[in-house]
């Protein structure tokens, strides 16, 4: 008697989103990055297709790397004062993309002007050919001046700009539409809000195919499981046909991991935890990999050793193209 097939098949799939524009497309990037396209639940290579492995993004901050765990900071200590040099180094580290965090624009960080931050974007675009994410400071009055300026200076480069939230999305949506960028749709680990922000963006004229979902992120041991759960529920709904959840997902792993003591404290404070030099990248890589299994498409990392570890691990488990 033949054993019946238990392969699942779904009526819908995850959107593919391309970030970056080469000269042929009107930009100056040396390559583009495409994420998403999964036709089934994560990593089920026997029953679905996965055209794009997760993209690994390195974070660059225009406030430098002060306060980052020493074992992470050591990698970029020589370039952390210069966003252009830092971005170039990210390319050497093997990143697929760069994520420029414009933290200096925050009032608590000195309130760097929108003009100067746009200059930072320009510097990164000139020194590094990787596709770019530009990320504001989550203060509406600041972002609504800052991000349009950055969108303008990066016009034609098909960046990914963030973030749009339920209470502040119109200005960013307009800027992305005007200058041809993709948009990050943020919601605080809340699947209902994730859908709602997407429908608000759609109302504002953004195509659902130009959106990347950011459900926020928590480190391993500090709430990663909640992010995993939201991603899993969203993925199931997406594959069943919910167009408001079919967007690929971005995770902000580096920043969240750097906050936790497991990534930071030296071994003499916690002898049982082993050497800090292994722990910093390992906590970041383990968090990222847990969320790869949840179907994440874009991972923003800080530690280049973590990037290497994630790349190698994904290479081992990612379903081969048929």
């Amino acid at each position: 008697m033949a054993v019946p097939s238990v392969k699942e098949s779904f009526s819908a799939k995850i959107n593919q989103v391309t970030i970056g524009a080469t000269a042929a497309e009107g930009g100056t990037r040396t390559r583009t990055v495409t994420i998403g396209g999964d036709t089934g639940l994560p990593l089920a290579g026997f029953e679905a297709r996965y055209p794009n492995p997760p993209a690994l993004v390195m974070e660059v901050s225009n406030t430098g790397a002060d306060g980052w765990p020493p074992e992470t900071k050591k990698h970029m200590a020589d370039v952390a004062g210069d966003v252009g040099k830092w971005a170039a180094k990210c390319e050497q580290w093997g990143a697929d993309m760069v994520c420029l965090r414009l933290r200096a624009a925050h009032p608590d960080e000195g309130g760097r002007s929108a003009q100067d931050c746009a200059g930072d974007v320009k510097a990164v675009l000139e020194s590094c050919g990787l596709p770019l994410i530009v990320w504001g400071v989550d203060v509406p009055e600041v972002d609504n001046v800052l991000l349009p300026k950055c969108a303008q200076i990066a016009a034609g480069e098909n960046c990914l700009l963030g973030t749009a939230k339920e209470k502040n999305y119109r200005t960013l949506a307009a800027a992305c539409l005007a200058d041809g960028h993709k948009i990050i749709s943020e919601s605080p680990c809340d699947i209902n809000l994730a859908k709602q922000v997407n429908i608000l963006l759609q109302d504002a004229g953004v195509s659902l195919e130009d959106i990347v979902i950011y459900p926020t992120t928590s480190a391993l041991g500090f709430g990663m499981v909640y992010i995993y759960s939201v991603m899993e529920r969203a993925r199931l709904a997406a594959l069943a046909g919910d167009r408001l959840l079919q967007q690929p997902v971005l995770l902000n792993v580096g920043e969240e991991t750097c906050r936790v003591k497991e990534a930071k404290v030296p071994q003499d404070e916690q002898p049982g935890w082993g050497p800090a030099q292994a722990r910093a990248p390992l906590w970041e890589a383990a968090t990222a990999l847990g969320l790869v299994e949840a179907g994440g498409g874009l991972f923003v990392l800080r530690n280049p050793e973590a990037l290497a570890q994630v790349r190698e691990a994904v290479g081992r488990v990612w379903p081969k193209a048929q």
């Binding site: 209902n192 859908k195 709602q196 429908i199 969203a234 167009r243 408001l244 959840l245």
Partner: protein, 263 residues
């Protein structure tokens, strides 16, 4: 909910006149209005129009498929008219409907399988509409068995447990819901269910109110689709809300718009 628009039916005067005078514009208009309101399929029924049923039906099918690729639900009691209409229909097809007698099921299941159509099967046999839950359940089971024997996949079957007007058949609304609940257990995957919703309020006064409350109740019992007035916005919102409350959709504040835009 699989919403089958009910308006292209010769019992409505404007449709009847349009069929008689071969006025495509009117039919196109009725079709478009239903599609814009969110119809997933369109019921096509010549009703009491004068002239040969097969000619009227063929004209109607041809006219409607000019303006949509959505499934057409061919609604006629005549087997020969059904055969001709299915041949002429380029869109996905739904046979509306067969009764649950042996002979009817055999030939309609064969027709559905040959033509790659879905089939709506009523729980009515030679003795008429069953008086209670058990009669509907037995016929539902017969429908499923006959479908499988005839090579028709369970996903191509819609069982219609025949809703009747609440004023003259007060127990039937409950019986239909209970029959759906019971029949959902007989196979894995379970069969799907549709009803002709407007029947529940026929010759009652509060037709819209009765229709939308019953639709919500029946969705909770497991109803998958219905032949409805899709242009009744409150009715559609009730159905979408019932499905939300049955966890068929994830909530967001604009869940109605989200549902409508997903079509």
């Amino acid at each position: 909910m699989f919403a089958i628009g009910e308006r292209i039916n010769g019992m409505f005067k404007n449709v009847r006149n349009a069929i008689q005078s071969r006025n495509k514009d009117v039919i196109h208009g009725v079709a478009r209005k239903q599609l814009e309101a969110g119809a997933d399929a369109l019921d096509i029924n010549v009703g009491p129009t004068k002239g040969k049923a097969v000619d009227n039906m063929l004209w109607l099918v041809e006219t409607v498929q000019e303006v949509t690729d959505k499934p057409l639900c061919i609604d006629t009691p005549k087997f020969d008219v059904m055969q001709e209409a299915l041949k002429a229909c380029r869109n996905p097809r739904i046979i509306n409907s067969t009764k649950a007698t042996e002979e009817d099921l055999e030939r309609y299941v064969a027709l559905a399988a040959e033509t790659g159509s879905r089939l709506i099967a009523l729980t009515i046999d030679a003795s008429g509409v069953p008086a209670d839950v058990d009669g509907r359940v037995m016929m539902g089971a017969t429908i499923v068995t006959k479908a499988m024997e005839g090579g028709l996949d369970i996903s191509s079957i819609y069982i219609d447990p025949v809703i009747l007007p609440v004023n003259v058949a007060p127990k039937v609304p409950q019986n239909v819901m209970e029959a759906i609940r019971q029949l959902k257990l007989i196979s894995d995957p379970p069969p799907k269910f549709v009803i002709g919703l407007s029947n529940v309020s026929q010759s009652c006064r509060e037709t819209h109110l009765i229709n939308r409350i019953y639709l919500a109740m029946a969705i909770a019992a497991g109803l998958d689709g219905a032949i409805v007035d899709v242009t009744d916005r409150e009715l559609m919102e009730a159905a979408i809300t019932a499905e939300l409350l049955m966890e068929k959709q994830i909530y967001c504040d604009d869940y109605v718009a989200a549902y409508m835009r997903s079509k």
